[in-house]
């Protein structure tokens, strides 16, 4: 089953110390999951300040600067993983280094 991982960072937990090893650890995670054939694709996203939210209201396209929801945790990246079941998806997400400074939401695809 395919799951989307929303990789979120909690800004309150971001310190030079907590993020020091992130690039290296993230690369290692990608390498492991690609090697296992679990990770189909994924990417890191640019800063929140680059986001634009698009809505259509009354037939008009309405734009807003910024993300669709202001939360303490921001989506910093995503991965699409293909796992046997939720237990494997939890194991994969639990190994992602950003889980230590944020949270990872794991959602199954509507159509597998």
């Amino acid at each position: 089953m395919k799951y989307l991982m929303f990789v979120c960072v909690d800004e309150a937990l971001v310190t030079p110390e907590s993020t020091k090893d992130m690039p290296r650890d993230t690369s290692a995670w990608v390498e492991e999951m690609d090697g296992r054939g679990v990770r189909l694709q994924g990417n890191r996203l640019q800063e929140l300040s680059t986001a634009t939210t698009v809505r259509v209201r009354g037939g008009e396209v309405v734009l807003a600067d910024g993300p669709f929801a202001e939360t303490k945790e921001l989506i910093a990246g995503f991965d699409i993983i293909d796992c046997a079941d939720l237990d494997e998806a939890i194991e994969v997400a639990g190994k992602h280094p950003v889980a230590r400074i944020g949270s990872i939401e794991v959602r199954p695809f509507w159509e597998d």
Partner: protein, 409 residues
């Protein structure tokens, strides 16, 4: 038949879930197998191995259903591959968990941490213990439709997110322990104060819950809440013989013949609780056991250390803020100090509406009013409690009290 249900229900449902991954189908096919047994055993006689018989019938029903619904050939193959023998229905990856007890292993398997705590506890009670949705709803103090919705939601997540039914490895057991403790606690409660039906105590449920709590304590010697829960069950269980009279009617703590309490069980409960408390992590089960110990240690109601009980309930309320704990604290306050103080707290609770449908709130209120000599008010509260009480024995008790204060139905 009752024995077969008790012994085999959970095992059969679990085996079918393990093979098909479909919880509803598994439960329905197990039900059909028991219905078939009810039809045939009285005339054909009970088979030599009732469990194997039931398993085979349930498995065949599942295969029929899958075939009729033209579900995946893979599922069918899995369901059919099991053979009719109970032994081969065992989960293959048993050894990883280190749990020796079959039933306890199934409970750990069912309590998946990706489900909300209440959902996983309710689902386990329904699926493995065979409690009805109504009984589980009463245990959680919610209306039956609410509980039915929770069960549907939990099963929906299992199917939607593909949560596997798999025995967890030993290192993943601790994250499931809270759910398992709650399952055993509610199982015991349902046995000790049956929420419906003719019997006040369902002895087999109590025995099974104690047996499982014992197995859990052995499995997790460093989890003080496991020992705390076992102690709590033993303290209550030690009073079972004094808790109802010859007619099966409820005898309150105040009127119980304390010489009929089971001293051996009380001694074991104390030993278990003392050992648990030495860990210095007093959780809700240890606190409730400590409260039960206060009752058990007293020679009579007047001798009971109600002040100590009230402060233990206060600690408990900090760990688990719940209106039921608040209610019990109010009763302890009433008994320790002034009846009026306790009544005031109960009235506040009632005004909050949180326990509106809880018969024990009205029964406790009625009891305090009776002690205060306010018979007419007490009669109103007894009537309200009577409307809400589930078991016949409780209703008979409340009717007797109602008559004592000069009221009638």
């Amino acid at each position: 038949m009752a024995a077969a249900f008790r012994d085999e229900w959970g095992r059969i449902v679990a085996a079918l879930i393990g093979r098909t991954g479909d919880w509803d189908l598994s439960e329905e096919c197990a039900q059909e197998a028991f219905a078939e047994a009810l039809r045939r055993w009285p005339s054909d006689g009970v088979p030599d191995r009732p469990g194997a018989w039931l398993t085979t019938v349930a498995k065949n029903r599942a295969i029929d259903r899958l075939r009729r619904e033209r579900r995946g050939a893979e599922l069918l193959e899995q369901a059919a591959s099991t053979g009719g023998e109970v032994e081969t229905m065992e989960e293959p990856d048993v050894d990883e968990s280190g749990i020796e007890d079959d039933r306890l292993r199934l409970i750990f398997t069912c309590c998946h941490p990706a489900l909300p705590l209440e959902g996983r506890v309710a689902l386990t009670l329904r699926t493995l213990a065979g409690l009805t949705t109504a009984e589980i709803a009463r245990a959680f103090l919610v209306p039956e439709p609410t509980m039915a919705k929770r069960l549907v939601r939990a099963k929906g997540k299992i199917a939607g997110a593909r949560i596997p039914y798999r025995v967890p490895p030993a290192h993943l057991l601790p994250e499931r322990t809270g759910g398992v403790l709650a399952v055993l606690y509610l199982l015991f409660n349902e046995g000790y104060a049956a929420s419906g039906g003719p019997e006040l105590i369902r002895a087999q449920l109590c025995d099974e819950a104690i047996r499982l709590a014992r197995a859990l304590s052995t499995l997790m010697p460093d989890e003080p809440e496991a020992a705390g829960l076992l102690a709590l069950m033993l303290f209550h269980h030690s009073r079972r013989r004094a808790r109802s009279d010859a007619a099966g009617d409820l005898v309150t703590l105040e009127d119980q013949d304390r010489t009929r309490w089971d001293r051996a069980e009380i001694d074991e409960a104390h030993a278990r609780l003392d050992a648990a408390l030495r860990h210095g992590q007093a959780g809700p089960y240890q606190l409730q056991a400590a409260i039960a110990a206060c009752h058990t240690d007293a020679a009579d109601v007047a001798d009971t250390d109600w002040a100590q009980i009230a402060s233990l309930y206060e600690l408990l309320a900090e760990v688990v803020p719940s209106p039921v704990v608040a209610l019990n604290r109010a009763v302890a306050i009433a008994m320790a100090r002034e009846l009026d103080d306790g009544l005031e707290v109960i009235d506040e609770l009632e005004a909050s509406g949180e326990l509106a449908g809880y018969h024990l709130l009205h029964a406790a209120r009625a009891d305090l009013l009776r002690r205060l000599g306010r018979d007419d008010d007490a009669a109103v509260a007894y009537r309200r409690a009577l409307e809400l009480a589930g078991s016949d024995a409780e209703r008979r008790f409340l009717s007797r009290r109602l008559a004592e204060v000069g009221g009638s139905l």
